[in-house]
Amino acid sequence: MDWEVVIGLETHVELATRTKIFCSCTTEFGGAPNTHCCPVCTGMPGTLPVMNKKVLEYAAKASLALNCEVTRYCKFDRKNYFYPDLPKAYQISQLYLPIGRNGKVPIKVGSEEKIIRIHELHMEEDAGKLVHDNWIDQTRADYNRCGVPLIEIVTEPDFRTADEVIAYLEKLRSTLEYLGVSDCKMQEGSLRCDVNLSVRPKGSDELGTRTEMKNLNSFKAIARAIRYEARRQQELIELDHKRVIQETRRWDDNKDASFSMRSKENAQDYRYFPEPDIPPMELSEAYLDELRANLPEMAEARQARYVRAFGLPEYDAGLLTGTRALSDFFEETVALGIAPKEAANWMMADLLRLLKEKGMEPKEMLFAPETLAAIIEMVSDGKLNRGTASKVFEAVFDNNGDPAAYVKDHGLEQINDTGLVESTVAEILAANPSQVIEYRGGKEKLFGFFVGQCMRALKGKADPKAVNEVLRRQLNG
């Protein structure tokens, strides 16, 4: 039988606010256990939550950017369950009036375009972390992450393949990153994704029983988990003639398999009710208009503009707009007067390569657009040749050093002394008489050999164009 896989996603994204959602503790990642805490976020008796203005703004922006209808009058609700990572034993979340509903995210897989529908986007607080200590055989609860603001974005079951899921997540990550509302770092847990998956015979309109998979820590893990779970469900039905059980499963990336978490979970009855401690929030049309007017240009729009206005190839424009930090770097470089194509070439060839080698994100680099512009200008001014410039780039990249100083300190200035070039070429030709004869006899390939010899003698600092010219004149002369 042919099977169709049906997938919906629940994505939790930590918002990049300075402080937690309901108290003024820092949201900074890491920190010794329980040092980013106060009586409010550790759920001490009598304490009360007070909503962070920025969280509302970021959640509203995200809703707008994902084409959601924004709920003008929204409220928080309590979700009640006992677990030691949740100190109040309830999570302040939104059930009845989430901030965003009925959104749409267009994605593209290969040449096919598709709309993923967003069921809802809601605000909530993150839980703490539990770490088991084998020495004392007890689990330690660390509440530093408690109260870090999250938005949860729930899609309709619109995905049919892992590729679609990844395309959506890439789009989501890019959108939220461009908005500046989240870092979206999966390795730090600021973007986390649960996969709801079911299978059904192709052509069927009915949804099968779904499972929910958690603990998916990378895009690769998500793709693998989807393939695994789809196969598991198909085999369960087809080979074992069993039914899929609606349950939560934990993905184990090392074992490349998912495992049922059923034993741990009790009856799921969260007893949601309106949070009495937080007054409702009303979003005025004027407020939303202002947010709308200030939404930044997103990756796709920038990519199109780079192709249209700067004549960049679509592929290059796509790479340059991969993250907001990279794209901003490009635009700032261009704004310093550098030709867009030249800036793009440098970024594609040198900058992206270095970032990849160093395993760095663009936003983490110290290297500034001004520095790149300076290097490019030194080349165009003839002070530095292109090959040496790459080395200078590499040398100053880490600490955003001064390229002019580096060139000076290392004596890398381009040799523009025509006399020296003339005499060096003459020396090389005199030292290689047989090759000169062969060249003049028609073996033109040897031209490269002469260039190499000359450049070596000039320690790579000459302008290759000048060397070529002089060589050609002397050889032909």
Binding site: K53, Q138, A141, A267, P279, P280
Partner: protein
């Protein structure tokens, strides 16, 4: 509303309360009586009435996103039932 022992068990599990048989039997009867009395609300027609969770029309009570130094950890942990310098301790939880 008929309150069965099974319903009391279910609600007890959700509340993390484990009643002794005698207490459970008494509680079942009392809850049945109390909840039975509450059914009087059904005499009031509330069609089209918006449920009122907040009494006064206060809205948009928001604070600025400005960091305030966190609390001294010793002070937070001082009241923990199991002493530890860094964290709150619980029996092993499956991770």
């Amino acid at each position: 509303m008929n309150i069965t022992p099974e319903l009391v068990d279910y609600v007890s599990i959700l509340s993390r309360l484990k009643l002794e048989p005698e207490e459970k039997a008494r509680m079942t009867g009392e809850l049945e009586q109390i909840i039975g009395y509450m059914d009087i609300l059904n005499q009031l027609d509330t069609t089209d009435i918006e449920p009122m969770s907040h009494t006064f029309p206060v809205k948009n009570v928001l604070r600025e996103d400005e960091v305030v130094p966190s609390f001294p950890r010793e002070a937070l942990l001082a009241g923990a039932p199991v002493p530890d310098d860094e964290a709150y301790l619980v029996p092993k939880t499956v991770e």
